[in-house]
């Protein structure tokens, strides 16, 4: 019979042969062979194919898209539209529902400014959750203040899960829009989007999802989720920085006003006013960062070539392994659930060792982790902490890196033991 420790060893061997293979694709490990980069939730490292894609675009296809009649411009337009098509297919949308933005933050600001702002009036509410990233709080505050509206928050329980009875009650009060994170960037908890959408649809309330932490780690299908808007960044899914996506369900397209005015988004410009193009171009003023958009397409292709489910199982195995080791550390306080993790994010504090000091000590041991409030001060307040240390994993991370993390936490504790 196989013993539990033999099974664990087997899981580890399989996982390590997976990450060993993946690590060959990531040139940051050639530059820093000993670096344990455990900050995927901030940004993932980039595989060589994505870096090459940017180079390829500027070497072979650089011209402004949708502007020239010459061959190179057509090539560039094709690259742009091919990326739109592939990304649409990847998340179960139609190409015209995909708007290229600079990232999740810009995408959410577009929903606030170009969709909700004109519909919002005095006394209206916007519904968020208590664990949102500032990018899914501040854009709504900007328009709520202007329109004398208020923001309400769905509370979360001790493990960080949405309180569904409260959600039901708040949704029945008919907010003008619900905007929720898909996965909390602090706790790694997953929002039960289908259930929320179900309640929202009964009340005809549009639902917007901040998918920044989901897109690189699990299969996302906007039709299955049933949401109206879905925002994400490329750089958290192995793609370049400065490019992101906003999915807008077709049914809202005639209610979208321009975000930025300029070239590429107009039909006709008169002296006093202009008419605007159809979606998605109405929201894409100016020259797009086509090289980065192409890089994002290649990143998504890369994800699919490995298989996002395979990546997810690897990351969850690492998360379970890390949690198990962390629980033995005296004075540790782990935020979020201890079991049934669905995302590779762990936030924690250690008694008498401030996260910033711990992060500096870990840095001296070649470990890159994030310390601070993670752009979510609401979450910090909810769990009565001012800052946490956050470790987050991607396909290239290994069990050995987690062992090194745990050893280094003990080293830091020892350094700080009472003088």
């Amino acid at each position: 019979m196989t013993s539990p420790s033999q099974i664990l060893r087997q899981i580890r061997t399989t996982a390590d042969s997976f990450s060993d293979r993946i690590r060959l694709d990531f040139p940051y490990l050639k530059t820093y062979p000993n670096l344990c980069y455990l900050d995927a939730a901030s940004t993932t490292q980039k595989p060589q194919c994505v870096i090459d894609a940017i180079n390829y675009y500027y070497t072979t296809s650089n011209a402004n898209a949708h502007r020239g009649v010459y061959m190179l411009s057509e090539l560039s337009s094709n690259i742009l539209e091919q990326a739109r098509e592939n990304i649409a297919r990847h998340i179960g949308a139609s190409p015209e529902e995909i708007i290229f933005t600079r990232g999740t933050t810009e995408s959410l600001n577009i929903v606030a400014q170009s969709f909700l702002r004109s519909q919002l009036s005095t006394g209206d509410t916007i519904l968020l959750s208590g664990v949102e990233h500032h990018a899914n709080v501040v854009p709504w505050q900007v328009i709520a203040q202007e329109k004398n509206s208020t923001i309400t928050y769905i509370p979360v329980d001790e493990e960080g899960n949405l309180n569904l009875p409260s959600a039901r009650e708040l949704i029945n009060q008919k907010p003008r829009l619900i905007s929720l994170t898909h996965i909390s960037n602090v706790l790694g908890t997953t929002t039960p989007i289908e259930e929320i959408v179900n309640l929202a649809q009964k009340n005809h309330i549009p639902v917007c999802i901040d998918g920044a932490q989901a897109i690189g780690h699990q299969k996302v299908n906007v039709r299955d989720l049933g949401c109206d808007f879905y925002a994400f960044s490329g750089h958290k899914a192995y793609g370049p920085m400065g490019v992101g996506v906003l999915y807008i369900n077709k049914k809202w397209h005639d209610q979208i006003s321009p975000f930025l005015g300029g070239g590429g988004m107009i039909e006709e410009v008169d002296l006093q006013s202009s008419s605007y193009r159809e979606m998605p171009y109405r929201l894409e003023a100016g020259t797009q960062s086509i090289a980065d958009i192409h890089g994002l397409k290649v990143a998504i292709d890369y994800l699919n070539s490995i298989g996002i489910e395979t990546i997810n199982s690897h990351e969850i195995a690492l998360t379970v392994y890390a949690l198990d080791k962390m629980l033995n550390i005296p004075g540790i306080n782990i935020l979020g659930p201890l079991k049934n993790r669905t995302a590779p994010i762990i936030s924690f504090t250690i008694a008498d060792l401030h996260p910033h000091d711990l992060a500096t000590i870990l840095d001296s041991k070649n470990i890159a982790v994030r310390a601070g409030h993670h752009c979510s001060q609401h979450t910090m307040k909810r769990f009565s902490v001012t800052a946490t240390l956050r470790t987050s994993f991607a396909a290239y991370n290994s069990h050995a890196e987690i062992d090194h993390l745990i050893d280094s936490i003990y080293y830091a504790k020892n350094l700080f033991s009472k003088k």
């Binding site: 008498d352 401030h354 910033h356 000091d357 500096t360 000590i361 601070g372 350094l415 700080f416 003088k419």
Partner: protein, 142 residues
């Protein structure tokens, strides 16, 4: 000594674990709050002046070891100084940390912060109590 051990030398850890002059004053001459929005560190500072001299000072810090120790050692350092002397020390300290010069190398407890300048992301932690003090004292002067 490696630079990490220099950063977290015993004096800094000891001050962070038992900060001096912590708490609040019931009737301060001036007060200020310092915030580091990027990391959430907070300092509340109360100063009691008598004839332009710092007669008492209290700091309450919520933050990392570097900012807590900086507040503790600062409070001891400026105690008994005139406002002018204290403000000079503030400027010298901030300047030393930003440029990495060794103004404090052989003088006073402040020398334990010399190595912070090698950690640019942590300079703000060490200077937070000092910029807060400057805010409090400048308010009085104006």
């Amino acid at each position: 000594m490696n630079s990490l051990l220099e950063l977290y030398q015993d004096t800094i850890i000891e001050h962070s674990q038992s900060p001096r002059r912590s708490g609040r004053l019931s009737a301060p001459t001036c007060s200020a709050r310092g915030n580091n929005p990027l990391c959430g560190d907070k300092v509340d500072l109360d100063v009691l002046l008598s004839n332009d001299k710092i007669e008492d000072v209290r700091c309450t810090t919520s933050g990392c070891a570097i900012s807590t120790a900086a507040a503790s050692i600062m409070a001891e350092e400026i105690f008994g100084k005139t406002v002018k002397e204290a403000l000079e020390t503030v400027d010298n300290f901030i300047q030393a940390l930003k440029t990495g010069d060794d103004t404090f190398k052989d003088t006073s407890e402040l020398k334990v912060f010399c190595s912070v300048s090698q950690y640019p992301t942590r300079v703000k932690c060490a200077t937070l109590p000092w910029t807060t003090l400057k805010k409090a004292l400048t308010d009085i002067e104006s």
